[in-house]
Amino acid sequence: MTNQTLTGRHLIGIKDLSVQDIELILQTAEQFKEVLQRPIKKVPSLRDITIGNLFFENSTRTKLSFELAEKRLSADIINFSASGSSVSKGETLLDTVQNILAMKVDMIVVRHPSVGAARFLSERIPAQVINAGDGTHEHPTQALLDAFSIREKKGTLQDIKVAIIGDVLHSRVALSNILLLRKMGAKVKVCGPPTLLPKFIQSLGVEQTYQVKEALKWCDVANVLRIQTERQDLQYFPSAREYQQYFGIDRALLDSLDKEIILMHPGPINRGVELTTDAADSKHSIILNQVENGVAVRMAVLFLLANRPLSN
């Protein structure tokens, strides 16, 4: 194998990654997945690195997954949540981060409600930045772990048909997934109510439909998104009940298809809205595999970003 590393110093979005970068991350994640099966799951690679996890927005999976990945790589970590911090006293993002960096932090993982927050920081601070979600823009590690999970089941991403169903307009998971899947040769169809599909989405090389059954019949993999009520400033659909009627996926709908599809969801699930309990917990679902793979993929990203000659 040739010596390879990522092209960029930071991970801001899938947009900046080359096909080789994505391939390298997915391959390295396979090695980390094996490490996570061992009786002792810790490796010493990042023992001289300090990582700050800066979460300006709520998170369960991403935060725990990054934290565990960092611990498995032996990094020192500090955690920061906006709630209960001086952010409520009016401290700016840059001031907050620079104060944290003054404590000699090498790398930061940042989640923020504003689009572009991660890039803003990466251009202004010496530490390496990993975007753990910036508003409705990108969530690169989620897209990488989704791709890893699909590849694990299907063996490849080339020509795999992926339907992304739900609140595409407000979803950073959708944008990162579309960019990654298109780069890796998969086919993508988005599906949702017209109000929740962005205009000109076809310019990203995806098809669109308003019929959930049509999308499910077409696809090999259905990635179902959460209805993001916290980002919806307008009434995009009449009621959760009506959304469930037209776009919700239940067991009967899955059983009516003449093939087995893979069901994914980035979490948290609104049970009974986009997915019913019998669908979310069915044999089609790989939702918990996604969470498991998240740790391996994030270990790969952290390892590869740290894996640079010191002269650079």
Partner: protein, 190 residues
């Protein structure tokens, strides 16, 4: 050692002598491990794995009744030069689908130089259980270049060379014939 040409290196073991060394190592292993029950062979990625394959192939030829447990170990995540030099490390796969608890482990690598790879391998090995013992088999022992107190149990050949010299084992898997080459310094493209 004779003078080494700067660019191409000097062949210090041909395919035939390599085959003979491997055969001798196999007899030594059989002497110490009998039918290999309770023993296992672990090759260090990448080139130690190829040597381990050669050893297994020869052992099966010598005694087809043998059943030998074997695995591959990648030590990238345990190396002590991560972020220390100019080299970028790339991980390979680890395939050990058994516990080494109470087993006699034979660790296999191509060249023993500073001993740092073996130190990392010993650390990595601990994740798979507590072995009864660990032995080290190498094809080439550069015995005057050690940074750590690590010595091999089985040696193909000993090479006494200057610190800056570079010894490389080539395998047919790399699209070459089996041989050992010595360069007077590390080639740019390996």
């Amino acid at each position: 050692m004779n003078a080494v040409t700067k660019s191409k290196g000097k062949i210090i073991a041909s395919k035939d002598s390599l085959t003979r060394s491997i055969q001798r190592l196999c007899f030594q292993l059989m002497e110490h491990h009998g039918d290999f029950s309770g023993s296992c062979i672990i090759g260090i990625q990448n080139k130690g794995v190829w040597l381990a394959e050669r050893l297994k192939e020869k052992l099966y030829q010598l005694d087809p009744k043998l059943a030998i447990l074997s695995g591959k170990l990648d030590i990238t995540f345990f190396r002590d030069d991560f972020r220390k030099g100019n080299k970028i490390l790339t991980a390979a796969s680890t395939e050990i689908d058994f516990l080494i608890e109470n087993k006699r482990v034979i660790l296999v690598d191509d060249v023993l130089y500073t001993g740092r790879t073996i130190q990392a391998a010993l650390q990595a090995l601990q994740q798979f259980g507590r072995p009864a013992s660990v032995e080290l088999l190498v094809l080439v022992d550069r015995r005057f270049n050690r940074h750590l107190p690590i010595q091999p149990n089985y040696v193909g050949m000993r090479v006494d060379a200057l610190e800056e010299a570079y010894v490389q084992v080539k395998w047919s898997e790399e699209g070459d014939t089996d041989k050992i080459i010595m360069f007077d310094s590390e080639p740019k493209q390996i």
